[in-house]
């Protein structure tokens, strides 16, 4: 996949290997500083593109820039249809099983509970951790469940016997995030020792320690191709890692605050990263910055998830949940969780959220010890819930 970046004036970098890559990136309108307007038309003529590649003409892009911003796709609003309470502490992590029958949640009460997705009833409680469980993952290829907690333990549970069969020892401090590699039997964990550790699942061996971050690694995800590991950290950087060499491939320093959540689009080759200042979209594999989301949620964003329809859901520390259209970055719904009766107002805080495998149900894990399930409101229509979208004239990029 070849990417070309076309600018509206100053430079053009031609990708030498471009053999007609069909993916092109259009610059957003009016992002230049206002001064050298006169030079732009002059430079335009030099940027005429040979017809071999599929890039966009600069003249088109210069003329009507605001309308170049893609219009958001209409999505139905999401509503909360079920509240499950059963945990005795904050619910910190969630994972779905590949068959979409059940999901498991890890909590501050040191248990992992497995719930039936269709009915919301509790199926099983697993105990074994001695501290909060911060990360959960269900393996796609084996009947294993992986959990990681503040007690530096990373455990592998066999779901046929419902017990721990492996423990991965090596973290020096609490483990905050966990991810499974899609194709290789590798487990990635990141924690407070600012290192992302790579474990071989079968042999429990510590394969590599990806060092480079300065602060806690709080989010990680894995991809089948390079960069195979992407980590976000409290030092506000995102690093791409070369798994074979164990080195950083790229560091993205676009964020100002810690990157607590990242979401990889299931189909597109891009991912979004969320921090308290902004939610930014980047492309893969090079990690080029695409754009910010068009609104600012102005809260610490703890969790983020995107489904195949392009609905991005972000959950904040103050209980606010915003829904965005992936493509355009337009926020079409803002919601606030209601704490369950008996909880304080300050306990409105969402720690984790995840779509189910189909992408039609969203499950959030909250600080008032409940699990809330959301689905699209099917009675809504584009007329009843219109999209009020104004293309951004002056896009903030900082």
């Amino acid at each position: 996949m070849k990417l070309t970046i076309v600018f509206s004036g100053t430079q053009q970098i031609k990708d030498p290997d471009n053999k007609g890559g069909s993916t092109a990136i259009i610059p957003a309108p009016h992002m230049l500083p206002k001064a050298p307007d006169s030079t732009i038309p002059g430079k335009n003529t030099t940027l005429s593109i040979p017809g071999s590649s599929d890039r966009f003409s600069t003249s088109a892009m210069m003329e009507r820039i605001p309308s170049r911003w893609p219009r958001p796709v209409w999505h139905a609003p999401w509503k909360n249809y079920r509240v499950i309470s059963g945990h005795l502490g904050w619910v910190r992590s969630i994972a779905f099983e590949p068959g979409n029958e059940w999901f498991c949640t890890g909590s501050a009460d040191r248990t992992i509970k497995i719930w039936d997705l269709a009915s919301g009833t509790l199926k099983l409680t697993l105990t074994g951790h001695i501290e909060q469980i911060r990360g959960l993952a269900v393996s796609q290829r084996h009947t294993y469940l992986f959990s990681a907690g503040d007690d530096k333990q990373v455990k592998c549970w066999d779901l046929e016997q419902n017990k721990v069969i492996r423990s991965y020892h090596g973290h020096l401090s609490g483990v905050y995030c966990l991810a499974l590699h899609p194709t290789i039997d590798i487990l990635l964990t990141g924690g407070r020792d600012s290192v992302c550790r790579v474990w071989d699942i079968r042999t429990k061996a510590h394969v590599a320690a990806l060092t480079g971050h300065d602060n806690t690694v709080c989010s990680v995800f894995a991809r089948p191709t390079d960069p195979q590991v992407v980590t976000g950290s409290h030092d506000s950087t995102i690093k791409f890692w070369d798994l074979v060499a164990g080195r950083t491939m790229c560091t993205l320093t676009h964020h100002k605050k810690s990157v607590r959540a990242m979401a990889l689009h299931p189909k597109e080759k891009s991912f979004a990263s969320a921090s308290a200042d902004n939610i930014k979209k980047f492309s893969l594999p090079k990690g080029e910055f695409l754009h910010n989301m068009l609104s600012q949620q102005k809260t610490i964003i703890n969790a983020m998830a995107v489904n195949e329809d392009g609905v991005l859901a972000t959950a904040g520390d103050n209980g606010s949940m915003w829904f965005w259209d992936w493509k355009s970055g337009h926020n079409f719904q803002q919601d606030q969780t209601i704490v369950q009766p008996g909880s304080l107002e300050s306990e409105a805080c969402i720690y984790a959220l995840s779509y189910d495998v189909s992408g039609s149900r969203l499950v959030t894990c909250e600080a008032d010890k409940t699990i809330k399930m959301w689905k699209e409101d099917l009675t809504a229509t584009p007329e009843s819930h219109p999209v009020n979208f104004k293309p951004p004239k002056d896009i903030r990029r900082y």
Binding site: L3, I5, F7, T10, Q11, Q12, I13, K14, S22, T23, A24, I25, I26, P27, A28, M31, L32, F56, R68, P70, T183, I184, V198, D200, T203, A205, H206, V207, A208, T211, G212, P224, T225, Q228, T237, F240, L243, V244, T248, M249, C250, T251, L252, T253, H254, K256, K267, E268, K269, S270, S283, K286, G287, E288, F289, L290, H291, I395, R397, Y398
Partner: protein
Amino acid sequence: MASLKEMLPAPKAAASTFYDHSSDPWFKERYGGESAQSAAAAKPAGPAKTVPPYGKRGGFVPRRPEDFGDGGAFPEIHVAQYPLGMGRRDDKGGSKILALTVDAQGSVAFDAVVKQGENASKIIYSKHSDLVPKIATADSEATEDEEYQKQIEETTERTKSALEKVVNVRLSAAQPKNVPTHDSESKFIKYKPSQQSAAFNSGAKERIIRMSEMAVDPLEPPKFKHKRVPRGSGSPPVPVMHSPPRPVTVKDQQDWKIPPCISNWKNPKGYTIPLDKRLAADGRGLQEVQINDNFAKLSEALYVAEQKAREAVQMRSKVQRELMLKEKERKEQELRALAQKARMERTGVPPAPAGVPSGGGRGAADDRDEDMDLEQPREQRRETREEREARIERDRIREERRRERERERRLEARDAAMGKKSKLTRDRDRDVSEKIALGMASTGGAKGGEVMYDQRLFNQDKGMDSGFATDDQYNIYSKGLFTAQPTLSTLYRPKKDGDSDVYGDADEQLEKVMKTDRFKPDKGFSGASERPGKRERPVEFDKQEENDPFGLDQFLTEVKKGKKAVEKIGGGGTMKASGGSSMRDDYEGGGSGRSRINFERGR
């Protein structure tokens, strides 16, 4: 002369003992080059071979190594010279200066600084264009799917194999059979040095080295100190792609101001903190104190009740006073009647007409005048004069006395109101400390003439003795404060044979005391019915004649009370009289059943 050589014995070592320089490659280069040069064609620049002598090096610039001849650089020629190629810094030493590069469009690559070194292999974003928002359009993953899948597979394979290697190394290192064992036997190594001649190694072509493990003293402490070395700097810095953090507004700064913690419990450094700071974090100002209305209601109700009570009391007292007055009047009347009757009996003459009734306050000893207007007014007239005079006299006396007493009371009251107290009154009201101050309460010292010493001066080493008292023993003072009690002087002190004549001497008096009849143990009261025997119990009651022929009352009370064995438990004591119901032991059978003590009216 024979040469020295012949005289000396033949040398043992055949070869020459000094190094044959002729075979040295360096010399071959230098001197062998001459021969090679003579064989080869002469160089075109003739004068270049020979170095111009000193003084004649005007335009001479040595650039090639052969320009220098045998020697080094020429100091008088101000050109960078590198004799024998020495001193030229081409790529050696790691120059810190980056060459200024220009990319294809002709713009200077300013991010060469960032992209050098380790960062050369990484993706670094350093341009403004990397900050500019863009849209990724028309992702055609569909067409790339096969490609993409292939890529995925290839990556997977590559990564897997690499990771497998790492894992295997780690696993095998952990397995016991892979641990390198120490061979205690020595190893022999054959070593062939590169420089072989008769000079080295005594002409031997190879050496054999025996390598053996040195014996390690197991009790030896570590030889080397492991110093902590600071971590090498990480990867070179990456350009920051965001604006510097916004300056904090004043409001934000104020919002995040956290006051220092002043604990209500601990103060380890012993700071003196003003009270308002101590209570600052109490949250007093945050809550409004709500006082219930009922408090006001209560106080009002109390006030009202007090008023009412006062009124009621006043009214009651008034009524009572009136009643008392009436009673008094009645009594007075009665007494007058009695007195009159008595007088009548005495004199046998109908009494004189009633005089003015005297006001109350006169004692019963005074004669009372009757105010019997009712009886015998004729007889009254006869006695009127005498009686009247007597009466008038008595009245006058009464009046005088009354006036005197009133006057006394008035004076006293006036004095008290003014604050003047008589001596007796004053002394009665004085506090003991005032008495001491005035010297009225003597502590015995003045009387005895002894000086009072502070007892703390004596017995300084009380020591063990002093502590052996119980807690409540009050042993601070050995004797009372006031030795001279007023009672002592007022109490009776038997005099020595005071009036033996009058009262009889001591023996007589003693007999009298001994034989006195006053303190008989079982002496009954005069007028009370004499008991036949001794008193059996402290209080004895008379048996009452009851009007209960059938014993119903008794039956009922018996039933009510019930004869339980428990009740007899306390019955053996001597104190039988219980306040409410008193039951006598021997009277259970036919007790009166009355629950109150009936007192008989004495005559």
